[in-house]
Structure formats: C-alpha cells, structure tokens
Subunit: 249 residues, 2 copies
DNA sequence: AATTTCATTTTTCTCGACATTATTTATTTT
DNA sequence: AAAATAAATAATGTCGAGAAAAATGAAATT
C-alpha cells in the first residue's frame, strides 16, 4: 500500500458496503455509504467520482448513484460542476477558517440554549459521554498521530450530548452538517503537536462548566477548544496541499 | 380559480419555467425552479410530487427530476419517504417553533460577528437595504393581508445585508436554509393582526442598533422581531391545518 | 514559439422503455 | 369484523441509445 508524506496509509478503510435497510431506497443507502466514506477519507478530497468507477465499487447502478451524489452535493460534501461530473469536495485551509467560525458560532449558540433547558436526563447524558471520551482521550495519547475511529465517535458523542437539550432539531441539524465537514479536516490531518495539548482536560472542563450551568465559561472553553484544533490543523497545511498535488492523476 | 378560507387564491403564481443557464445541468435547473415554487407556495405543503405530473409541468425528463427532488430532500424542502415517492415538506406549527429557535440563534450569532467585523461597505449595504425595505414596509400596510413578492425580497435583502459581514460563508449558508424554510411559513400565512405591528419601526430600530455597533441591542431587537412574526404565524394555525385537510386528494 | 482554430474523442447528461420491487386496494376467507 | 390473500397501482432501478458539452490534440496562424 502506498503512503503519504506523514507515513500514514492513504486508504486506512475500505469502502463502506451499501445495504438497504427497510424503508429506504438504494439511492439513500448509497448516499449514506458515500457520506461515511467521504468523511472518513476513504474517498479522498478532490477525487473524481466517476459513475462507472463507483458502479463497480459499490455495486449500484448509475441512477441511484447520481441521485446519491446530488444529495451529497446539496450537503457540500461533493462538488457537482455542470457537465464535468462529480468530485469529492476538496479540503481548503482558507475555507476551514470560515467553516470553523460557523461551527463555533452554532455550537455556542446551541450550548447556551442547552444549558438553559437541560434537565437531569441531559446531565446524565453529558456525564456518560464524558466518561467514555475520557478513556478515548487517554488512548489517543498512545496512538501515533492520527485520529482514530473510536475517538472520533466518542468526541462527536460528547459534544452532541452537551448541546442535545437546545430544543431545536433544526439547529442540531445545521450543527451536524458543519461537524461532518470539520471531521473531514480532522481525519485528513495528523496532530503533530499533540504533546502540547491535553484534550482530556479541555473536555472535562467543558463538561464541568456545562453541568455547573456556567454558560459563559462553557462557551469560552468551547471556543478555545475549537480554535486550538483549528490552529493545529493549520500546522498541517503544507502536508495536505502537497499530498493533494501529488495525487492529481 | 379556487380560493381558500381566507379569500386568497390557492396558487397566486404559475410554475417557474426551467431554464438552464451556462455551466449547469437540467437537474440543477429543475432543482432551482422547484425550490422557488416550493418556497413561494406554487407547490403547496404536503402536495405529492409525482414524476409523471412534474414531467408535463416542467418539461423535464424523469432522471433530472428525481435528482432535483433528492437535492431538495437534502435541504428538507421535500420529503422523500422510501418507496412512497416525494411530497412537498408539510408545514407544521409545532415544527415552526423549533425552526424559529434555530434561525434566531444563527441570525444573532451572525449578527454579532457581522457588527464586530463590518466596515464602511457593510454600513452602506445596510443603509441601502434599509431604505428599500422602508418603502416596501409602507406598501405592505396597503396590501390586504398577504405578504408580497417585493416585500419578501426587500425583507430578505435587509436581514442578509446586516449579517453579511459575519465572515463565514458557511454560516450564511446555514442561515439561508433556515430563512427559506421560514419564508414558506410567512407566505403560507396571512397577517391577521398586522395593524398591531409596525414592521418599519422594527426594521429601522435593528438597522440603527447595528450601525451604532450596539451588539446586544441589535440581537435583542432581532429576537423580538422574529418572535413577533412567529406569534402572528401561530395565530394562523387553524386556517393552515384546515386548508391542509381540505386539499387532501 | 506561442496562440488560436478546428475537428476528434471522450465524458457527462438526458431520455425512454422495461423489469423489479414495494405499497395500496380489493377480495376472499376464517 | 378481522385477517389473510390476490390484484392493481405506483415507485425504483436497470439498461442502452443518443444529444450535448468538455477535453484533447492536430493543424494553421500570428
């Protein structure tokens, strides 16, 4: 298997296989599988998504595939330029600044509402997710650089739990879209200076502030938390850009 | 032409015709046309969107139509239930509370950022949009109930101008999606107690607070502005529900 | 040598017909 | 009347042909 400049395998995962659960179509199933693959980097940023190729990979006909790609294009995970086919939305670190600003704004807005409205069940959810994440944060210190699947899930679950009581599914939806995008950047990058960061401490502090109903502190900590991630990602700029150019073919 | 219980024509507009400008496909063009029609109520909430019917209305084949509908489903303007076809997303006033909460949160978040970052060009944009809206607000007082096309455009342009300097296209995108949804509710409803409301005063106050860089005031006024609209929409609950049931067929 | 023009090739998109599958409606049976 | 079965209807998926657009490459021009 080929490797990139950081010594990480190019495709750590194999394509998600398309399975249609009851009550939805092949197009929706293909969309789901492709979404996961794009977020996890199985389909790498900038990659051309030719129908003929995808047909053989996912065992789905052209019609549901095109529909799936159009849905993903609506979510900005895929780029659909007229008459030029589909490509995985490229990662652009200028764009990321913009993206991170949006996600921070929405996350803190949801956080405010959630802390104001959250009941005991919310508190319990936060405590539980915090507990799971604590272990994954510790495990991440042992890992050699890359973000793992289990950590991503625990991290995502933790932040979701904290904002879950905001009382607006629409807000949570908007938030999810931005988080999916951010996850792509996280997974594509490698934490070079991870030693300088104590993720566990950050997460625990956020959880504590939220449970103490200290709105302003929780928001401030979250903002810093996201900003810190962003600055570490920026460190990986050159590598990302270099890899992109290298894989143009 | 048939009329609903408020004496408004059921379909005040005719279907937008699908025209493909350079650089995009029929599917995208159909999506754009359908989006406009759904937002304006040309295709009414809950309406079944059968491919065969749409083919004759929009003069587009089944393939691009399905793709367009899937895109709109991703934006929650269309409901795609597996193997049961497509329907225009219904209007639900419980849902609207949720929706309005999300839009208020995102709007005020963008507002904060915009007021902090906005330069002279931003100020000029706000002043200009405010001027245009002033006239439309006045014209609305003469109109008998329903929100007009021109007012919607001016209103949308005004609120967009105010948040335009927030520095995040992703945030503006999330915001637009929610505004499109809200516009559907506004247009579907009729302002019954419009006499009790001075829209122009509200808008001018928001503009003034923003230009004076009074962040908290601008946000508070915007929140009230949205909440007031929401409460007036709630008044129209019974009519909306009744019309929906009447048109089931 | 660089650029433009034109024709060729390739890719993408759209259409329509048909097969398959799921859902709804009608009928029969218990 | 309720449940089970069968027919009708509608939605989805597959395929292949053809149209339209973009990319490619060769020849002509500057």
């Amino acid at each position: 298997m080929t490797e990139n400049s950081a010594g990480q395998p190019d495709t750590p995962y194999s394509p998600t296989n398309v399975t249609l659960d009851a009550g939805n179509t092949l197009a929706q199933a293909a969309c789901k599988a492709l979404r996961v693959d794009i977020i996890r980097g199985v389909r790498s940023p900038g990659e051309r998504l030719r129908i003929e190729k995808l047909k053989t990979i996912y065992n789905v006909g052209p019609t549901p595939l095109r529909e799936a790609l159009q849905m993903l294009a609506a979510d900005q995970l895929v780029l659909a330029e007229g008459n030029r086919g589909f490509t995985v939305a490229p990662l652009d670190l200028n764009e990321f600044e913009d993206l991170n600003r949006a996600r921070t704004a929405i996350e803190t807005a949801a956080l405010r509402l959630s802390i104001a409205d959250g009941g005991t069940d919310w508190e319990a959810g936060v405590v539980a997710a915090s507990y799971v994440l604590k272990k994954e944060d510790a495990a991440l210190l042992q890992a050699n650089g890359g973000v793992t699947d289990a950590w991503e899930q625990a991290n995502s679950a933790f932040h979701t739990a904290i904002v879950s009581a905001c009382g607006s599914r629409w807000l949570l939806r908007a938030r999810r879209g931005l988080h999916d995008q951010c996850e792509r950047y996280r997974r594509a990058s490698v934490y070079r200076k991870r030693g300088e960061r104590d993720l566990n401490a950050e997460h625990q502090a956020i959880a504590e502030a939220a449970l103490a109903r200290n709105v302003d502190l929780a928001c401030t900590l979250t903002e810093r938390h996201f900003a810190l991630t962003a600055s570490l990602l920026s460190d990986a700029t050159s590598r990302l850009e270099a890899d992109r150019k290298a894989s143009t073919g």
